[in-house]
Each structure stands twice: as structure tokens, then as C-alpha cells.
Amino acid sequence: MVLTAIVISFAVLAFTLTLIHRVYQEGGSDDVDDLSEADIQ
């Protein structure tokens, strides 16, 4: 079970890092307060 959890966490971490990188490319910031395009108006 520990091994499964490690594998899952690794995969999710890889995805998250890629996503954050893409957000930084598109939005020019990694501060969630600056990323307000999708916010509630």
C-alpha cells in the first residue's frame, strides 16, 4: 500500500509541476492572487 501511495503521489506531483509551469508561462505569475481571470466576479 505504501508503494502504491508513493507511485500515485509521484505521478500527481509530476502533473502538478507541469501545470504550474504552464500557468506561469500563460499568466506570467505563480501568485494565485494575480491569477484572477477565472475568479468570481
Binding site: M1, T4, A5, I8, A11, V12, F15, T16, L19, I20, R22, V23, E26, G27, V32, L35, S36, E37, A38, D39, I40, Q41
Partner: protein
């Protein structure tokens, strides 16, 4: 014999694998996905009939006896939800074939949708807490990618928030499973049901229950843990939003119902006030958020939260009739909600906008679509004779039976506000004339006019899924008698977990 229990998981996984093999052929992927969804629906119906006839079905994977191996269990509640997942899968994959752009199709849109469905069905059918976590991750990873796929800026921002908060939920869930294993030495749900009662000190059991409430609460978007939902659900294509709204938060509710009816029955009395407060706040804040919105998808996203409140109310009341109401409500709201998202997508196709101020005139120009929206909207608001009325009636009667007047009054008030916000969409998109001073689009396309809306024909695969879902919703209301017999039986199974334990453990203590 009991391959049936595994079929709803295997079918979408096989469809996903076939779709990946056909990587370069989006046409083939479409057929595979629609076929996979149809077979999933079929498998769900066969499973439901089998469970209804022969009682709870189990499958010990690899023939390891419970509690050592992983057990798949299908009771009525799980089987009903698998059928629901099948219905939504068919509607949404059909709708996707007409609306998803080639860019998304090329990057594995359909296989991801199938993996998502496999994760959802796996969560419904597993009888093992750790396995539940694994299926949760399967569906979460698929949903992360579906949400971010396409790479528009708003999508990426929404996805980031969604991913971050759901990762916290997953971490809490994983830690909790570690605690449970440390306390009892098992993660099999049926085995846990007996062993958690013997744990000393029982404070630890409360801690575990509270942590599971937080973990599943984030996934189900309960107040005050709902922030990821309105930040992200309005960003992906409507087909994705429709399947998310129909299934993902409901998976969180399913997990809550499962653990509270099976594991924490004794602790339930102490959690009841908390759950009632959470239910009330979720209903109220969700609907207030919805009333304030001027964009269809945002408005509908807030409604998801509000409806989750009703479901938690069903769980909090914790009587047989309340759980029966919860199951009926869950099916009803998943159908109605997905329909409304799909209609919003059709409105966008016709008028080019989700903004309420930039749409209009559809009652005159597209009366058929207006009728379909009207049925789904009235059903959601709880107007007789539609399924929403019966669902709310069941919950409210359950509340009155045990004298929980306050929550009943709140539920009725929220219902009224739901009606108001549905009228808001109705007035803006269907009743008022199309604004004549619409500006041309930024990309140079001409502004939408009455003539253009009237000339636009919706594709068959846009209309057919909406009709299908509305028909299912009407069937739910028309066949209320037999359906309530079924959900009553399902609720009875939930209230008397001994049968579940025995089916899994096979008589051994």
C-alpha cells in the same frame, strides 16, 4: 459469476486503452468512447438487476478471502449510482462528439473521459478503504487533465486551484487511511465496521471520522471547503463541466454516506448537529452565490454546491426515509444538472455567449430547446410534477418525521431561491428579446442577430443527449412508485450494514 461487479470498471478501462491505440484516429476514438459508454450503461443495468434479485454481490480479487485481498462490493446504492454514471456517460460522450474541438480530441479527450468513468465506477464498487483512495486518484488525475486540456488561460488557472485543493484532500485521506490501519490492522470496509467499535480510546474513532469528513467534504464541495468548485467548473467545455457536475461531487457524497452508514454508526449521533449546520450553510451559500451570477456556467456551478447541501441534509437526518430521499435526490440532481449544463452549451452555440446579458429570444426562435430547459429547470427548483419535487418532498417528509423543523424551513426557502435563479436564466436567455446592439466578436466574427440564431441548426448530437437526459428525468418522476421501492430497499441496506458485512466476510467474524 461475479465478473458483473468488475464489469463497470473494466469496460471504460478497455475503451480507454482501445482509444489510446487509435491515437491518430479521432473518428475511431469517438466510436469506441460512445460504444464504451453504452456498454457501461448496459453493464450497470445488468448489475442493478442482479443485485435487486440476488442481494449484495461481491468479488474477491485474486481469490484472496476478505479481509486480506481487495473486495469489490455492489449493493443497491452502488449499483444505482453505476447506472446513473452510465446514463450520464452516454449523454456526455454523444454530446462531446458534436462539440469537442479537434485539438482536444487529438490529445486523448475520449480516453481520459473513459478513465474518469472507470475511476467513478471503481469508487462506487470498491469495498476497501485504500482501494477507494486509489480509485479517487484515478478519477482525480483524469479530471485534472480534462480540466486543463486545451490550455486556455482561464482553464489553467481554474485547474491550478482545483488541483491544489484536491491534493490537500487526497493527502488528508491518505493520512487517515494510515491512522485507520494503525488502529485496526485492516482497511477492508466490512471488516472495519466491526473493528472500529472495539478501538480504545474511542476518541481516535472520532478523529478518524472527522478527518474523513474533511477529505470527502472537500471533494463533495461542502461549505466551508467548496472554494475550488466555483473557481474551476465554469472554465472547461460544457461537456466536461456536465460530467463533472453530474458525477464528481456526487462521488464525495457517496464516500461520505458509505463511511458514515458503515463505519461510524455509533458516532453519527454526535456528528448530526455538525452535519445539519454544514448542510444548511451549503444550501444557503450555494444558492446565494448562484443568484448573484450573470454567467450561465458560473450560476450553474454555484447551484451544484446548493444541491450538495440537500444531499448532506439527507445524510445528517440519518433515517431510512432520509437516506432513500438522498439516493433519489442524488439521481435526480445529477440528471437535471447535467442537462442544464448541456443546454447552456447549446445556448452558447446559438448566441455565442454564456453571459445572460448577451443572450435572448430563444423562446421565440428555438421553442424546443426552451421546453427542454424549462423541464430541467423546474425539476431542479422542485416544481410538481417533476422529479425534483418528489426528491425534495421525500427529504422534507423525512425531516418532519423526526422534528427537524429548522432544516426543513431552510430547504424550502432555498428551493424558492433556486426557482428565482432558474427564472433568471429563463428570462435572460429565452424570454427577453435578443439584444439588438450586440458588438461583433473580438476575433472579427459578425455580431449575432435574430436571423443568424434562427438559421443556426443545432446538431443532432447536441439535441439528442439533452432529450435523452430529460426523458430519464421524466421517467424518474413518472415511475416514482417503483423507483421509490428501489431506493427504499437501497436505504434499508445502508441502515442495516450487517448484510453488507456478511456478504463480504462470508460469515466468518
Amino acid at each position: 459469476v461475479n465478473g458483473l461487479v468488475l464489469a463497470p470498471v473494466l469496460v471504460p478501462l478497455v475503451a480507454a486503452a482501445l482509444g489510446l491505440i487509435a491515437w491518430r484516429h479521432p473518428d475511431l476514438q469517438r466510436y469506441v468512447a460512445v460504444g464504451g459508454a453504452a456498454v457501461l450503461l448496459l453493464a450497470g443495468v445488468v448489475l442493478l438487476l442482479a443485485v435487486e434479485r440476488d442481494g449484495i454481490q461481491t468479488l474477491q480479487l485474486g481469490n484472496w478471502p476478505a479481509p486480506f485481498g481487495i473486495t469489490m462490493v455492489a449493493d443497491l446504492f452502488a449499483a444505482i449510482l453505476v447506472v446513473l454514471a452510465g446514463v450520464l456517460a452516454v449523454a456526455v460522450t454523444l454530446y462531446s462528439t458534436a462539440t469537442i474541438d479537434p485539438g482536444r480530441e487529438r490529445y486523448a479527450y475520449y480516453p481520459l473521459m473513459m478513465v474518469l468513468l472507470a475511476g467513478v465506477c471503481g469508487t462506487f464498487l470498491t469495498g476497501d478503504l485504500f482501494n477507494l483512495y486509489v480509485w479517487f486518484e484515478v478519477l482525480l488525475i483524469a479530471s485534472f487533465v480534462l480540466l486543463a486540456l486545451g490550455g486556455e488561460r482561464a482553464q489553467l488557472e481554474g485547474a491550478l486551484k482545483y488541483v491544489a485543493l484536491n491534493l490537500i484532500a487526497s493527502a488528508v485521506l491518505l493520512v487517515t487511511i494510515g491512522l485507520v490501519y494503525g488502529l485496526t490492522g485492516t482497511v477492508n470496509l466490512a471488516d472495519l465496521a466491526g473493528r472500529l467499535a472495539q478501538v480504545e480510546p474511542d476518541g481516535m474513532v472520532y478523529a478518524v471520522a472527522a478527518m474523513l469528513l474533511v477529505a470527502f467534504g472537500i471533494k463533495a464541495a461542502l461549505v466551508p471547503l467548496f472554494f475550488w468548485l466555483p473557481a474551476s467548473y465554469h472554465t472547461p467545455p460544457v461537456a466536461v463541466a456536465a460530467i463533472f457536475s453530474g458525477l464528481l461531487t456526487k462521488v464525495g457524497i457517496y464516500a461520505l454516506v458509505r463511511v458514515f452508514t458503515l463505519l461510524f454508526v455509533e458516532e453519527m449521533a454526535d456528528f448530526q448537529p455538525l452535519l445539519l449546520i454544514v448542510a444548511a450553510l451549503t444550501m444557503i451559500l450555494g444558492v446565494i452565490g448562484a443568484v448573484a451570477q450573470h454567467e450561465m456556467r458560473r450560476l450553474l456551478s454555484f447551484h451544484i454546491i446548493s444541491q450538495i447541501g440537500y444531499l448532506v441534509m439527507g445524510l445528517a437526518l440519518f433515517t431510512m426515509s432520509a437516506l432513500a430521499g438522498l439516493i433519489y435526490f442524488l439521481v435526480h440532481v445529477a440528471l437535471a444538472k447535467s442537462t442544464l449544463f448541456l443546454v447552456a452549451g447549446a445556448v452558447k452555440q446559438l448566441t455565442g455567449s454564456f453571459e445572460l446579458s448577451k443572450t435572448g429570444g430563444l423562446w421565440a426562435l428555438k421553442p424546443g430547446l426552451a421546453m427542454l430547459f424549462g423541464i430541467a429547470a423546474m425539476s431542479l427548483a422542485g416544481i410538481p410534477p417533476f422529479s425534483g419535487f418528489l426528491a425534495k418532498l421525500a427529504l422534507i417528509e423525512a425531516g418532519l418525521e423526526i422534528d427537524r423543523i429548522v432544516i426543513v424551513l431552510i430547504a424550502l426557502g432555498v428551493s424558492l431561491m433556486t426557482l428565482y435563479s432558474m427564472l433568471k436564466i429563463w428570462n435572460a436567455a429565452f424570454w427577453k428579446p435578443l439584444p439588438s446592439d450586440l458588438e461583433p466578436f473580438a476575433d472579427g466574427a459578425a455580431a449575432v442577430t435574430r436571423e443568424r440564431v434562427a438559421d443556426t441548426r443545432l446538431a443532432l448530437m447536441v439535441v439528442a443527449p439533452i432529450v435523452f437526459l430529460v426523458a430519464c428525468s421524466l421517467a424518474l418522476a413518472l415511475a416514482a412508485g417503483p423507483v421509490f421501492d428501489l431506493v427504499d430497499a437501497a436505504a434499508l441496506q445502508l441502515m442495516e450494514p450487517a448484510a453488507y458485512v456478511e456478504a463480504v466476510m462470508g460469515g466468518t467474524p
